[in-house]
Symmetry: C2
Subunit: 336 residues, 2 copies
């Protein structure tokens, strides 16, 4: 049932340091990784404020009886909690950790959480900020990106085994500094989400019939609209906190400024000016032909699949076809 597309599930030699605690391990992301690390040889314990022992049971891992005792005995403590709680939880738990152990987090911002973890983890405890760039609906880590942010001078022994653990699952691992991470994510995440959420909000304000519009879609719109829906279907708390990235404000401002400039060109019927703006943007952007080829391919895959489903829909179990193809129970289970 939990068959994934991962290549090989080799465990790596943890030299006996295999006791991992995931704080927030009963949540979506936390339980996804509880399973991931368990499958790779860690002895995983989870803890969550709502005491969902049933989730731990379903995952086949322990639920921490006493949180502070578990922290003190763990080789790796992972904070898989909302961004706004990360600093407080680091302050509460990190001072209890033992020398030689590793403190990690799974948040989408790095500067603030890293500062807190470095501040509260005792000397001799390593700190590795981690940003898995995917949500728990993804069935496998293969092809997904994981960004690692090692604390300067405080991640000598754990960085390379952790890189290895993600790489062996098929992830693309990148190592970055906290500030650079946040600067890049202000575009990659904050701006992308912001543009999409604003589209949804505009469609609501226009009272535009999204469902009906599906009949008149181009593939570009169809795929965009599903990404908009994807974002809206997930945690508003997470998406709101990503906008709190200190770099995001500057990026949003630049976006709104360009929206206004382009809109004015169109309002004035300045076709030549609009075209010139597009060309300037294209010059900076680069790689248009490759993007065209890749997106043609994506659209082709998408249509093949959609048309395949449509034929399948006459069969009685069409819903299960879709569910299976999108990751099936493996992708749903950890969301509980």
């Amino acid at each position: 049932m939990r068959k994934t597309m991962e290549t090989k599930m080799e465990t790596i030699d943890l030299k006996g340091k295999d006791r991992m605690l995931i704080v927030g391990g009963t949540g979506g992301t936390g339980s996804w990784f509880a399973r991931y690390f368990k499958d790779r040889g860690f002895s995983v314990t989870v803890w969550g404020p709502s005491r969902r022992v049933d989730v731990a049971e379903r995952l086949g891992v322990e639920f921490a009886g006493d949180l502070l005792t578990e922290v003190a005995g763990s080789d790796v403590v992972v904070l898989s909690v909302p961004i706004k709680d990360t600093e407080r939880v680091a302050e509460e738990l990190a001072p209890r950790m033992k020398p030689g152990s590793l403190l990690m987090d799974f948040t989408s911002l790095k500067a603030g959480p890293m500062e807190a973890m470095v501040k509260w983890a005792p000397e001799g405890v390593e700190v590795l900020g981690t940003h898995p760039m995917f949500g728990p609906t993804i069935p496998t880590i293969r092809g997904q990106t994981v960004i690692l942010v090692p604390a300067e001078g405080r991640c000598g022994t754990w960085l390379s085994p952790m890189e290895e653990i993600f790489r062996r699952g098929g992830a693309r691992v990148e190592v970055l500094g906290a500030e650079e991470h946040d600067r890049i994510m202000a575009v990659v995440q904050a701006l992308t989400h912001f543009a999409y959420i604003s589209i949804a909000s505009a469609l609501a304000s226009l009272d535009f019939d999204v469902e009906r519009s599906r009949r008149f879609m181009s593939p570009v719109y169809e795929i965009m609209i599903d990404f908009v829906g994807r974002i809206l279907a997930q945690s508003p708390e997470l998406y709101a906190s990503i906008q709190e990235n200190p770099e995001a404000r500057r990026v949003r401002d630049a976006y709104i400024r360009e929206c206004k400039r382009l809109s004015e060109l169109a309002d004035d019927g300045d076709i030549a000016g609009f075209q010139e703006a597009m060309r300037a943007a294209a010059d900076h952007f680069g790689g248009g032909e490759e993007a065209l080829a890749r997106s043609d391919k994506l659209i082709g895959l998408w249509i093949e699949n959609r048309e395949g489903d449509r034929r399948g829909r006459s069969a009685p179990k069409a819903a299960s076809v879709i569910r299976r193809a999108s990751g099936g129970s493996a992708s749903k289970a950890p969301r509980s």
Copy 2:
């Protein structure tokens, strides 16, 4: 070489009315459809202002020696010219058409071009506005949308065979009025493009390194960035003219208003307000779980493909693998 994924290429009985002229038939869209209609039993002639007889030869169709004579003898005249030229070309050519013939266009706007076609086509000539919602890089019409806008009271005999010709190729055909078409396209095309072009423009103004950012991508960003690149790689003239849709201004205004509102909530650190705005948008939007499942599936397909290519890249002919998968020469030829 021109093997496509289309199901079956049945010709339909045109009752001898098979002589088609495509004005602009040597351009990207025009030549794509020259081939499409030729394969379905039409005797196709093309004409283009740059006299590209070589393109006609490659397509295996005639190039019109004398344009006006060809118009007068044709059963179907298709205007595949830039939106801004459609009205002028209709004025010039439509009056020459013979009774019982059909005038079509392929533009992305409908109100203006329809008005002109109806005005200039003599009584007894039918008028069918047509909007193929895809570009000539697409290898097959299967699963693509074609919108037909029959002129009121002036498309009695041609509507149904034309619907059939597109349906048999595997297209989704929708019939709409001109005003409703433009209202829907102000969102489906104009807003989608506008948001994406503005992103490119913002990234240029921030001097953001797009190529480097690919290393730190989430699939949502990766796919978005390729759609941005896709739009930038195509005709600025087409994209500028789509913004000229008279309904688009209102939609752009609503979008910029919502961008500002959401940005202010984030600037003020009003996390609760931002979340509430997201929830309200989601309520209007609907279908979040379906969007999540569909986009999970798309992301899965995309990653499978990308990772497959990556393995293939070690082989000497990687570039041809990519080209083949994205439609190969069939998708490139009509762009000349």
